[in-house]
């Protein structure tokens, strides 16, 4: 029996249904029936029709209990302070199931929606994304886990020695901190991207990172092929296409071959992926 592989699904909805909570709830429940590690919610700031991915993930979080929820967020035109608390809150709402896929927006058309900046070449935007991921992690750590003390004797709700300014200063932004949101259940919600700047990298190259490399593949890919790629070093796969083909055909076959879980063994996304809860860098 080989080692276990990990499976994620990129959720897609089309037509008017794409704007209903009901459709997204059906999809996420289906993914959870298939004991997938996580689902991703695509997004852009380019005007493509669709709902905000973080809100969509939050809307379905209370309706599920195990599957990881990984919305896409665009670095280039957003505030790391806002995204940090949004993903921390998704983690509180989902009790340890949140992640985020960071992307960049190199198109001038996207920049026109904001009217704030001209965008540099894509490699530079990914440099900025690296700083952004660093700021997310620092803000998540800006509250120690036991910062809330409710000490009636001194009248103090928090121990302010356990709240930290992050004082990040980079080429693109400065952020003072601390976060307004307490440290999320996972410590650090999962950070994923097509570049190696977090816990999961989506890549066709199994050696792209010493972190978990997920390959983006079509849902019609055979179990044999996935197992072969897994043996070459891919930790898992993000499947695109018919969700029921994944949950009703691929998953049962992979379970039978002993390479995919038959039930959830953890309640957090980091737990599903075998990732430890990170220590706090400020503690």
């Amino acid at each position: 029996m080989g080692t276990r592989l990990h499976l994620a699904a990129a959720l897609h909805a089309t037509g008017e249904e794409a704007f209903t909570a009901r459709r997204w709830a059906e999809l996420v429940r289906e993914a959870e029936l298939g004991t997938l590690d996580f689902v991703t919610f695509g997004d852009s700031l380019g005007g493509r029709p669709g709902l905000d991915a973080v809100l969509t993930a939050a809307r379905v979080a209370p309706l599920t209990t195990h599957v990881g929820l990984v919305p896409t967020a665009v670095v280039t035109h957003t505030e790391p302070f806002h995204l940090s608390k949004a993903i921390a809150t998704l983690d509180h709402v989902g009790r340890g199931r949140a992640g985020v896929e960071l992307t960049v927006a190199p198109d001038a058309a996207d920049a026109r929606h904001f009217g704030r900046r001209t965008v540099g070449p894509e490699p530079e935007l990914w440099e900025e994304a690296r700083d952004y991921a660093e700021v997310l992690r620092r803000l998540w750590d800006s509250w120690e886990d036991d910062a809330e003390i409710r000490d009636e004797a001194t009248g103090r709700f928090v121990d302010r020695e356990k709240l930290h300014y992050i004082d990040f200063e980079g080429r693109w932004f400065k952020v003072r901190g601390p976060s307004i949101t307490p440290r999320p259940p996972q410590g650090h919600p999962l950070i994923a991207a097509t570049e190696p700047l977090g816990d999961v990298v989506f890549s066709d190259d199994a050696s792209a990172s010493d972190r978990l490399v997920f390959r983006d593949v079509d849902a019609t890919t055979s179990a044999d092929q996935l197992i072969a790629w897994h043996e070459q070093g891919f930790a898992g796969f993000r499947l695109h296409g018919d969700l029921r083909r994944i949950t009703r055909e691929l998953v049962p076959e992979l379970r039978e071959r002993g390479v995919f879980r038959t039930e959830y063994e953890h309640t957090t996304l980091r737990g599903h992926l075998g990732l430890a809860r990170p220590a706090n860098q400020f503690a």
Binding site: A25, L45, G47, P49, L51, L55, V175, R176
Partner: protein, 423 residues
């Protein structure tokens, strides 16, 4: 004609109204607390749930303020999640027009309105301070006098995007020059309900021009009527009628089996809200100087306040209420001398009185009277305990209002605009 009352539930905030030391007090961040308050409000047929926001932890004397509840969720994320566990309740969130951009906020509110089937509301706030700006890319970029012009531009830009739905847009004004394609179809309400909380001249004018409801501090009969007449009187010049802007003061409450019992409970709550340490910090905000050496059970400080810009407290709008600290200090010294009050007693006396105190029947009467006498169209109720602080009100006061025929027994429509009776 008998007016119908509107009621909203304010999630307890990061100030000393919230009693975290109460044995019943629960988490301020776990989702279960938000679910509890929202479901209580929905069971009681409230118009909406309300979430405040502040984008930097408060400081006093250069240190993080540690005596009140600290820590909040992200507004959009928690409201979207609450849409999954409620079906009719409006979901109102505070979003700052200074440290956000219209394209992103319009997508978020349009998404929330779709995901909640038409229950989204936006409390539009502005800030300008460099203190909050330190958490954001642009820093403290906005001059104080520009905050309302940016807020109004921001809102009008967002409206253009809501109205566009999926398709091309162009918008250019003093603050924004943007264009391209919006990608969220027209949502069930078209536009989210707009709330405004500013009390200044500019804030009232902004509300009269743009808001569906205004959140005020004027909960008493005389002050409420004055404010009500003032803001409703501003509507005509914008081609609006008085019923198009609901006046909803914030209100605290303490209930009891009898009025006397409620008064006793209210006195206990006020002492919970104002510890000795809190009393000293409160005086520091007026004196604008360190008073940590004073005994809260002793007389008022003998030193004079530091006049000029208030520098001791950061991230706290309420310090601006004391426009003439020297005068305030004189009045408080006279009051303390006349009534023989310690520092803590004085702070309780001047700061902590609840809006409604009494048996369920007398609180229902007080609320109904204020609404029928045009001091308000309803109230945003602020419980002092999280998350169960609204339970007793929902179980005892709401049925009495329903019996009087002044509050709904069932929701008449699916959207928050339906609940508020606005279009």
């Amino acid at each position: 004609m008998t007016k119908q009352i509107h009621l909203a539930a304010h999630f307890p905030g990061v100030n000393n109204t919230t009693v975290w030391s109460d044995p019943q007090a629960g988490s301020h961040i776990e989702f279960d607390s938000f679910v509890h308050l929202a479901q209580t409000a929905e069971r009681a047929k409230f118009d909406f749930f309300f979430l405040a926001e502040g984008l930097r932890l408060r400081e006093q004397g250069g240190k993080i303020y540690d005596l009140d509840v600290v820590g909040r969720p992200d507004t959009f994320t928690v409201l979207a999640a609450l849409a999954a566990v409620t079906t009719r309740l409006g979901l109102a969130g505070t979003i700052n027009s200074t440290f956000n951009e219209p394209y992103e906020v319009a997508r978020q509110f349009a998404s929330l309105d779709h995901l909640s089937d038409g229950r989204a509301a936006w409390n539009v706030v502005t800030s300008w301070d460099a203190f909050t700006g330190e958490n954001f890319r642009r820093g403290g970029f906005l001059a104080q006098e520009d905050r309302y012009t940016r807020a109004e531009s921001f809102l009008r830009t967002a409206w253009k995007l809501f109205d566009t739905g999926v398709g091309p847009f162009e918008h250019r004004d003093q603050h924004f020059d943007i264009g391209g394609t919006f990608g969220v179809p027209r949502s069930p309400q078209g536009r989210p309900v707009i709330l405004q909380a500013g009390d200044s001249e500019e804030g009232r004018e902004f509300a009269a021009a743009t808001a569906d409801a205004i959140f005020s501090r004027h909960g008493t009969l005389e002050a409420g009527q004055k404010f009500y007449r003032d803001v409703k009187g501003r509507l005509a010049k914008y081609g609006r009628t008085p019923d198009q802007l609901k006046v909803l003061p914030a209100a605290t409450f303490v209930l009891g089996d009898t009025d006397a019992d409620a008064q006793e409970r209210a006195a206990v709550v006020r002492r919970q809200q104002v510890s000795g340490a809190t009393a000293i910090r409160f005086l520091e905000q007026v004196w604008n100087r360190d008073l940590s050496g004073y005994d809260p059970n002793g007389p008022l400080p003998d030193v004079e306040p530091v006049t000029g810009e208030n520098t001791i407290a950061q991230g706290r709008a309420s310090v601006r209420m004391f426009k003439d600290p020297a005068q305030t200090v004189r009045e408080w010294r006279e009051r303390a001398a006349a009534k023989n009050l310690s520092i803590r007693d004085l702070v309780i006396d001047v700061s902590a009185r609840q809006t409604f105190i009494g048996s369920a029947d007398s609180v229902a009467t007080q609320i109904d009277d204020l609404v029928q006498q045009d001091a308000a169209d309803g109230f945003i109720l602020v419980p002092h305990v999280t998350p169960g602080g609204l339970d007793e009100f929902a179980d005892t006061v709401v049925p009495l209002l329903q019996e009087r025929g002044v509050f709904r027994s069932e929701y008449s429509g699916p959207t928050l605009r339906d609940h508020l009776g606005i279009r």
